[in-house]
């Protein structure tokens, strides 16, 4: 009988906690692109996203010996990643010096151009623009769902919110995206 993904993850985590480097590599190979995708979507900076991803996995491996898997590994991992990003953004905000307002012009568009997505259709660009217009809370759910590949149950665990709230917010976010994209088309 084939083992469920949860069982596989549990066994892999157990082996990694015992120092099995192959098991740890499997965890990193499986999850690091997803953590990176989420963080880059959130901050729009590949270098920072990689830095946060590395920091997240260092934290995980330091605590893995004390971690007991109960099907919550994904929520634990992505919560740490989100917290790392939040702390880093706060740190940068504290260290930031006041700048001339002119220097801020165009900074919103400073997110890196995706060489693969760039030649994509106008629909992708419209979607990008519509995403940028979402509230931070709505955008976060979209990122957790589509860029981190989390289920709604896991998103609810990461955000510490009821599943119904998460579902309702996702639905509202999609409707807003449709609305914003429609407005883009009209323009």
């Amino acid at each position: 009988m084939a083992s469920t993904p949860e069982k596989t993850i549990e066994a892999t985590l157990q082996r990694a906690a015992e120092g099995d480097e192959t098991a740890w590599r499997r965890i990193v190979d499986t999850y690091s692109p997803r953590v990176f995708g989420l963080i880059r979507a959130q901050c729009g900076n590949s270098d920072l996203a990689e830095e946060i991803t590395q920091s997240t996995f260092c934290t995980i491996v330091e605590r893995i010996g004390r971690y007991t898997e109960r099907g919550r590994f994904e929520s634990w991992l992505f919560r740490i990643a989100m917290n790392r990003l939040r702390d880093e953004m706060r740190r940068r905000k504290r260290q930031a010096r006041p700048v001339e307002s002119e220097a801020l012009v165009g900074l919103a568009g400073a997110a890196e151009e995706d060489p693969i997505a760039s030649p994509a259709s106008g629909q992708m660009k419209a979607l990008e623009a519509a995403l940028a217009r979402l509230s931070e809370a709505d955008r976060r759910i979209v990122h957790l769902r589509h860029f981190a590949g989390l289920s709604f149950a896991r998103i609810a665990e990461v955000l510490g919110e009821p599943l119904g709230t998460v579902l309702a917010r996702q639905h509202r976010a999609l409707k807003k995206l449709r609305q914003h994209m429609g407005e883009e088309d009209l323009q």
């Binding site: 015992e18 491996v61 693969i116 979607l127 589509h146």
Partner: protein, 178 residues
């Protein structure tokens, strides 16, 4: 093809190697084709944004050294085992007793004054002139004897040779009842 969102993700490209663990079903957009299209477009956008080459390798290299078993091996290598308080006190008591024994031994040793070149010269002259035995000269090195001061002051006079002094020293030796 069924994607992570079930039947509503029609049109998604297949790149399951990048997202091997997929979210379960259950969509707020169910029943609304327009919302389903937006969801599908979001998944396509996410899949086109590949992680940079070698990301997983770099993350692995940065973190593998922190695996619990590796930390344990390092600790053993550098002998970082905790030491009990009892063991520490035992070692301190042993070191203290050795130090006390050493001090007692030093203090109980007979103290012998160093023989200066001057004392050796006096001894030679006296041995020649008075035929005294070396054992008889011990008194000369007792600096607390006030008569020794006379011998010493006599000998430190630079313009006198030992031959000049021999007579005086012989008399002093007699005076010291040697």
């Amino acid at each position: 093809m069924n994607g992570p969102t079930g039947r509503l993700t029609t049109g998604m490209t297949d790149s399951s190697d990048q997202y091997p663990i997929l979210p379960g079903p259950g969509l707020p957009s169910e029943g609304d084709p327009e919302l389903a299209q937006i969801e599908a477009a979001l998944f396509r956008m996410a899949r086109r944004r590949h992680a940079p080459a070698g990301l997983a390798g770099r993350v692995f290299d940065a973190s593998v050294g922190l695996l619990p078993a590796r930390r344990l091996r390092r600790a053993r290598l550098f002998k970082l085992e905790p030491v009990s308080f009892g063991s520490v006190w035992g070692r301190l008591a042993l070191a203290a007793s050795i130090a006390v024994a050493f001090v007692v031994a030093i203090r109980s040793m007979p103290q012998e004054r160093p023989r200066s070149p001057l004392s050796q010269a006096v001894e030679l002259v006296l041995l020649e002139s008075a035929g005294a035995a070396p054992a008889d000269l011990q008194g000369l090195w007792r600096f607390e004897d006030p008569r020794y001061g006379a011998v010493e002051s006599l000998l430190v006079t630079r313009d006198m040779t030992f031959r000049d002094l021999s007579g005086d020293l012989a008399r002093l030796a007699e005076d010291l009842e040697m």
